[in-house]
Symmetry: C2
């Protein structure tokens, strides 16, 4: 059976990296609030709050803080969870699968597009093959996200994740 | 563990009916295109096409036809599937969990709100306890749906479903 995800180069942003940490620990860093907050925002931004209800329809909530101290809450809903393999969530739905309004999902003027995000983990020769994909509703949202520096931002966050795992926690 | 659905009387429409048909057959009537099309639209509207990919992230597509012959396509995405118990889908996402735009989900001017729908089936003393719930993003969408005759419409469709099952198929 084909995966449900249908790639679309005009609407999606994706990157793959090989990282030298086991996928079990990457999974924990994505799914335990205390292990997510230290790396989730590229510094000097911080993630100062996080709530995770790890099941389809469950809440994924973070609060980001700018260097100036402004707070930006984000609320999403998990869609698909395959432990240590695949994590899918969206800001198009609130917890309990309730449709969201774009303006309701973030306090930031910069993030007003809807997206579904997918993190996929696979064993690699050394460590883990890490693929992050963000699926947008339309080209405008995709371009806005690319212009915000999707790959640099998610890449910098991943560097922070890897450094945290390699330090030990 | 609590269900993920969080009821909200201002945002949701729901009704429960006891129907004298087994839930296994109601389930088939909701999940097999050939068995869905005969009852899904209250006559004189018709459902003239249907495609079902019954898995989370899978396509749920119908085309309704007005008595005047105008066609109204609807595309949604399944979210949660518990065979013979619970079926959840939304028009806030397209297949593969891609966020949709309200205008893209229907050709009808009348249906431009986002919703998640949930059909729940439980054994009753005689037949099945049937609960339909529609979860909206905001009060405007909920009121619009109520004004369109949600309960009468879904109730009439259910009557057609029950009649079809009782006739045998």
């Amino acid at each position: 059976m084909q995966p449900v995800y249908q790639a679309n180069a005009q609407l999606d942003l994706t990157f793959t990296r090989l990282v030298d940490v086991p996928r079990a620990l990457i999974w924990r860093a994505w799914t335990e609030p205390a292990l997510l907050m230290p790396w989730f925002c590229p510094l000097p931004w911080k993630t100062i709050d996080c709530e995770i209800d790890l099941r389809p329809g469950g809440l994924f909530r973070t609060t980001m803080q700018s260097p100036e101290g402004a707070e930006f809450p984000n609320v999403g809903c998990y869609l698909d969870i395959v432990p240590q393999e695949k994590l899918v969530w969206t800001n198009a739905l609130l917890p309990g699968f309730r449709p969201s309004q774009p303006a309701a999902t973030s306090g930031s003027d910069e993030v007003n597009f809807l997206f579904t995000a997918m993190v996929e983990l696979a064993d690699a020769e050394q460590g883990t093959r890490y693929t992050a994909t963000v699926i947008h509703a339309d080209e405008a949202g995709c371009k806005q996200h690319a212009a915000m520096g999707f790959e640099a931002g998610w890449g910098a966050a991943l560097d922070q994740l890897v450094a945290m795992v390699q330090r030990g926690f």
